[in-house]
């Protein structure tokens, strides 16, 4: 069995999380030396004590892309001064998640839209190349694009 301890070969590496129910719709996830609280599957409320599962997914995708830019950009000789990604996702039919009888469709994400704002001196052409490479190498982008329509655009901010 593979473990994610030191000395494990890359081919066998598995990432792990252990999620324990806490109370109500709140759970806690443990992963390596970290933990984070998850409140509900998806929330329609203005405020909650913790992010919902769906928000962690959006945040994770954004974090994956942001980290990807930091890894890839230097290889193209591009210096990034600031980077911010705005993400939003829409369920195919949120009523099915709520269990409304007779509703068609499914409660999965239909589309994830993203706006990637980058402040850089690099040309748009070069940034597009970086972005393509980020997509090619991103674990989450490649996982999700097989199941969800990913609609991302780049905005260069002077």
């Amino acid at each position: 069995m593979a473990s994610n301890g030191p000395g494990t070969s890359q081919e066998e590496f598995k990432w792990k999380a252990r999620v324990s129910w806490v109370t109500g719709e709140r759970s806690v996830a443990y992963s390596r030396n970290n933990s984070f609280l998850i409140e509900k599957q998806a929330s329609f409320k203005e405020k909650d004590p913790h992010p919902s599962a769906i928000e962690y997914l959006l945040g994770a995708l954004g974090g994956d892309i942001a980290a990807g830019f930091q890894t890839v950009a230097p290889r193209f000789g591009v210096s990034i001064e600031a980077l911010e990604i705005s993400l939003s996702g829409q369920l195919n039919n949120s009523l099915t998640m709520l269990g409304v009888i007779g509703e068609a469709g499914h409660p999965g994400l239909e589309t994830i839209e993203g706006r990637i704002f980058i402040s850089t001196e690099a040309t748009e052409e070069k940034i597009e190349k970086v972005w393509q490479s980020v997509q090619d190498r991103s674990p989450l982008f490649n996982t999700l694009k097989r199941a969800v329509k990913l609609d991302f655009s780049l905005v260069i901010v002077l």
């Binding site: 203005e46 405020k47 600031a82 911010e84 705005s86 939003s88 706006r115 704002f117 402040s119 905005v155 901010v157 002077l158």
Partner: protein, 394 residues
């Protein structure tokens, strides 16, 4: 004060920045070039903006706010106790993070691109806010000059990020006292130096009446939460009137708009001036510099049916939309002014765009070419109107 003709044509202040200037601004912010090096580049740009206005035969010119990052946060480097905080930084300290996310989404901008001058210590004037800008402009043109200044309510509201500022001032009102003192000093120095027109920018006043029931809006200069709109408007009137004390020797104006951050009209605020009339009529300013080029601003009657406004105020009539690529035909501008003349005598009407052409330096809403063409259309209209007054049709 220099003499102005009838129907003076002017701008609201800002002009799109060139890529050279934007680059220099970034370098200055990063400490890669000095203030003096930046000013040398900005001097060239100011001369170009003046040349464009002179070529268009604009009567009352501005320096295009070329040295500023935007119409209000530029004061940060001229004051102590104020720090530019990006929205990304503010997100860390404010409670209403979801409200901020709505702002960013509507503006379609990253949090790192919007900075707010935030009070972090006792606010004091380190150097003049605009006097240097005025003096340079004066050295480069013989035309009358308008100087634009962020108004006291705008500055107080923007600086008062409660979570940070209340460590320094017990209340927003206490911060307002220092802001008033700073602007009073600035205005008196501008008057001494011979400025022809001093315009206070207070766009946030519309935010108070057109976003009823919300504690926050997406207007950039109104990021901090507010109290009850009536209280806030009374607070604004008291601040503005104190700043405007002893300004008899200069023409003064107050500019209000409904946002100028996007070419998408649907994201900008909407509503007539009617709910503001009781407050505008009490302001100690000669002129109201207002939007009127889009239906979002409502009808002229909503403002000019008021006897107090008609008797006590000049009107800077917004006759061109600074955000559209189409240049308004001069005939349409003439028609709009004729409508205003049903309420006001000719000597009380100025012609201006609805707002600046480059309110935020990194988000210009038009090109210099289109802006120039719009100025020329206004001048053509003013010429027709002056001829009509000089030789009325039989």
């Amino acid at each position: 004060m220099k003499e102005l003709p009838l129907f003076p044509v002017t701008t609201v202040g800002s002009w799109p920045r060139s890529s050279t200037l934007l680059r220099a601004q970034r370098q200055k912010q990063r400490g890669q070039i000095s203030r003096a090096e930046f000013d040398k580049i900005a001097d060239t740009e100011v001369r170009e903006v003046l040349r464009r206005q002179e070529n268009a035969e604009v009567d009352l010119v501005t320096d295009g706010e070329q040295r500023r990052d935007n119409f209000y946060s530029f004061v940060t480097e001229k004051l102590s106790g104020v720090q530019l905080m990006t929205l990304a930084e503010m997100l860390e300290v404010v409670e209403d993070k979801a409200g901020f996310e709505r702002i960013l989404e509507t503006l379609d901008v990253p949090a790192f691109a919007i900075s707010n001058p935030t009070c972090v210590g006792p606010v004091k004037r380190l150097s003049p806010l605009t006097l240097d800008e005025y003096l340079y402009t004066r050295s480069q043109t013989d035309r009358p000059i308008k100087v634009t200044l962020p108004g006291p309510y705008l500055l107080t509201r923007a600086m008062w990020v409660k979570e940070v500022a209340q460590k320094v001032y017990p209340s927003k009102e206490a911060l307002g006292e220092d802001v008033v003192n700073i602007l009073q000093t600035e205005i008196q120095e501008l008057i001494q130096a011979g400025a022809d027109f001093i315009q206070l920018d207070e766009p946030v006043l519309t935010e108070l009446v057109f976003t009823s029931g919300q504690t926050r809006t997406f207007m950039c200069a109104a990021l901090s939460a507010r109290a009850d709109p009536t209280e806030e408007l009374e607070f604004a009137v008291s601040l503005i009137n104190r700043v405007m004390e002893n300004t008899e020797n200069v023409r003064t104006g107050l500019h209000i708009c409904r946002g100028n951050w996007s070419q998408k009209e649907s994201t900008l605020l909407s509503g007539s001036y009617f709910p503001l009339v009781p407050y505008l009529s009490r302001l100690k300013v000669q002129q109201l510099v207002l939007e009127y080029a889009t239906p979002r601003a409502g009808e002229l009657a909503a403002l000019l049916d008021s006897p107090e406004i008609r008797a006590g105020k000049e009107l800077g009539l917004g006759v061109v939309n600074p955000r559209t690529p189409q240049v308004e035909p001069s005939e349409a501008i003439v028609e709009r002014v004729r409508e205003a003349l049903q309420y006001l005598p000719a000597g009380k009407v100025f012609l201006n765009p609805d707002c600046g052409f480059g309110t935020f330096s990194n988000r210009p809403i038009n090109s210099g070419e289109v802006a120039s063409a719009k100025l020329k259309a206004m001048v053509e209209a003013a010429t027709v109107l002056r001829q009509e007054i000089a030789a009325p049709a039989q």
